[in-house]
Amino acid sequence: MTARADGRRTLDRPGRTAFVYRPTASPQEAAAWTRRQVAMTNLRTVVGRAYPRIIGLRRDKSWVFFEVLLPFLATSAFVFVYRALQAPPQYIGFVVLGGAMTAFWLNVIWMMAQQLWWEKSQGNLELYFAAPMHIMAVLFGMAFGGFVMSSTRAAAVLVIATTVYNVSFSVDQWVLLIGVFLLTLGALYGLGMMLASLFLMWGREAWHLTQLLVEPVYFVSGLNFPIARLGVLGSVAISILPLAVGLDAMRQLAFAGAAYPIGTPSPAIEALILGAMVVVFLVLARWTLLVLERLARSEGRLSVRWQ
């Protein structure tokens, strides 16, 4: 490394200039990557793609209003309803937990599922596909960046609401709680990755579909009430929606000992369901991505400008 007058550093390698970075004798040599090169490129892609989301958290502060204060108000409305109805105190906690988890669902549906379609309209998608990394690495990067972003928002809602409404948690199984939380996110973002591929093919309809999915999923996931109250519909939701099963398990674990509506599986069983969802959604995401990449290349859907 050589330090420059302006403090930045340049790379010292024989034969290098700004236009010669990695001298290779032939295109064949340049194209022959080792497994390590492939793995490292995918790993770096995850970090690279996560970067805009994480840096955006610092640069664009509007999220404090739109994604912390507004959800807090929505949560507060339910808190006041439960208080007026003199519901058991843990219901306040259920709502607060649901309000915090909203951030992840919104992130998955708006910034994962829709993302590839948005990237296509911006012209990024064709650059992603023209680069040598696996496109799953890009999706993982989006997911990781989204996770960091949403965790900050969820934590803010949780802390503010817990403090304002004096919620007290009672956790007996911390490891299981943390495990369930991480599995929920894994399954949620896996679902987001799968939807991202599908939405790419559905094109403009994806936006309408996203809107269509927001409120019904809130409802059947029991964001503001225990899902057991939904009976059979709740059981169906638990078997297909990561948010529903994850939230139910976290409520059971975060308010241990409190009277909890019966009718849903134990947290351990729900953790297994979540684990299965993680695997299924990730495998499906990879498969749909490969199939749809082929389809998109065949139909000319990777870019807006095609002729």
Partner: protein
């Protein structure tokens, strides 16, 4: 728009050059019988209709054609973003359909009007993000980005958000992105589209400098700017309706429409008219230029004549004869055909002219329906002054 790119050393890597030359290389681009049909309503569009193309390593190759000719479709196939309906294409021996990973490791692309990236990032961050997609180690990535920012002349915009860049600055940044991975083949799809003269020149200089740095680097440029194709390309293909109509060096293509040497002479006088010139050896035609008898500063008239000769060598006889007639040559220009003339001759219309109503996108060669000729519209553009006398 900042100034021209910062000076950079572009010395070829000699050892790489020797090694590259030592081994037989497959064609940089080998396209055989490519056809691409888009299934759109109300009827399918044939974007490429049996294209064959061979580009040698190290060539600067151009695809010249009007909008909708099929240039972008071909580039999308070669960059692995689109599958051909029929035919095969290889990049340095790698098949575009099955060996996409290998191709993506050795190529990069930049398109005109490209708005890629995330507005919230600075130029430096945006380029670093893309460097990670090509596997550059994180710190190497930052250093490489800084070098390329200097090389493309964006030093002042280094920490500026990309949403605030001008069109020219943005395109320079796109070029820096395209060079991050040291590609062996660079696809440029109308890269100077929408740029002002200075920015377009800066971009062209960048490409040439990058290409000159390592032997074997290949560029495929699509453009509908003829001067750009003429200036940059070693060879080019003229494309229309998904077909290659002509292929060769710019000079070879221009010679196709120039069967005679055409000169324009401006004289102080010409006693006896142009009749005497017509009988000279090698003179095909000689005519007074209509409306070009102008008054000089001293009030005397000048005479302009258009001369068509069998070749340049016949000019000596004409000059000698004019001297014998007591005429002084005030100016002499040679008219050269442009690539647009070639296009007009091949297609029967100019780049900017709409297609005829019956000229649907079925890939038929419009030469069948339009005769050659019609070179009048480009007379001014193709006239280049080669010598001024008097």
């Amino acid at each position: 728009m900042s100034g021209s790119p910062a000076p950079t050393t572009f010395a070829p890597a000699q050892s790489a050059a020797a090694r590259f030359a030592a081994r037989a290389q497959p064609l940089a681009i080998d396209v055989r019988g490519i056809r691409r049909v888009y299934k759109v309503k109300p009827k399918p569009v044939v974007a490429l209709d049996g294209v064959d193309l061979a580009v040698e390593p190290g060539e600067f190759f151009g695809l010249l054609g009007p909008n909708g000719a099929g240039k972008t479709t071909l580039i999308k196939i070669l960059t692995t973003l689109l599958l051909p309906s029929e035919g095969t294409a290889r990049i340095f021996g790698f098949d575009v359909e099955r060996q996409t990973r290998q191709i993506r490791r050795i190529m990069n692309m930049v398109a005109g009007g490209e708005q890629s990236g995330y507005g919230i990032l600075t130029v430096r961050e945006q380029l670093w993000m893309f460097s990670q997609f090509y596997g550059l180690p994180a710190r190497d990535g930052w250093n490489r980005v800084d070098e390329l920012i200097d090389a493309v002349g964006l030093d002042e915009q280094r920490e500026q958000r990309i949403s605030t860049l001008s069109t020219g600055q943005r395109q320079k940044m796109n070029f820096a992105r395209g060079l991050l991975n040291d590609p062996w083949i660079f696809f440029l799809d109308e890269p100077t589209l929408g740029l002002d003269v200075a920015a377009a020149r800066a971009v062209r200089e960048l490409v040439l400098a990058w290409k000159a740095a390592v032997p074997g680097r290949t560029v495929l440029l699509t453009t509908h700017y003829m001067a750009e194709a003429d200036e940059l390309c070693d060879r080019l293909a003229i494309v229309d309706h998904g077909r290659i109509l002509a292929l060769g060096t710019p000079d070879e293509l221009k010679r196709r429409v120039q069967r005679e040497s055409v000169f324009r002479l401006e004289l102080d006088r010409l006693d006896g008219g142009v009749g005497g010139l017509r009988s000279l050896p090698g003179v095909v035609s000689a005519a007074l230029a209509v409306g070009d008898q102008t008054a000089r500063g001293d009030g005397r008239q000048t005479v302009a004549i258009n001369l068509a000769l069998v070749d340049d060598g016949a000019l000596g006889g004409v000059v000698g004869a004019l001297g014998g007639l007591g005429a002084h040559i005030l100016a002499l220009r040679k008219s050269e055909p442009s690539l647009e003339d070639v296009f007009v001759e091949l297609v029967g219309r100019g780049f900017d002219e709409d297609r005829p109503a019956d000229d649907d996108q079925d890939g038929r060669d419009s030469r069948d329906r339009h005769g050659p000729g019609n070179q009048g519209s480009t007379d001014e553009a193709r006239e280049r002054e080669v010598e001024v006398v008097g």
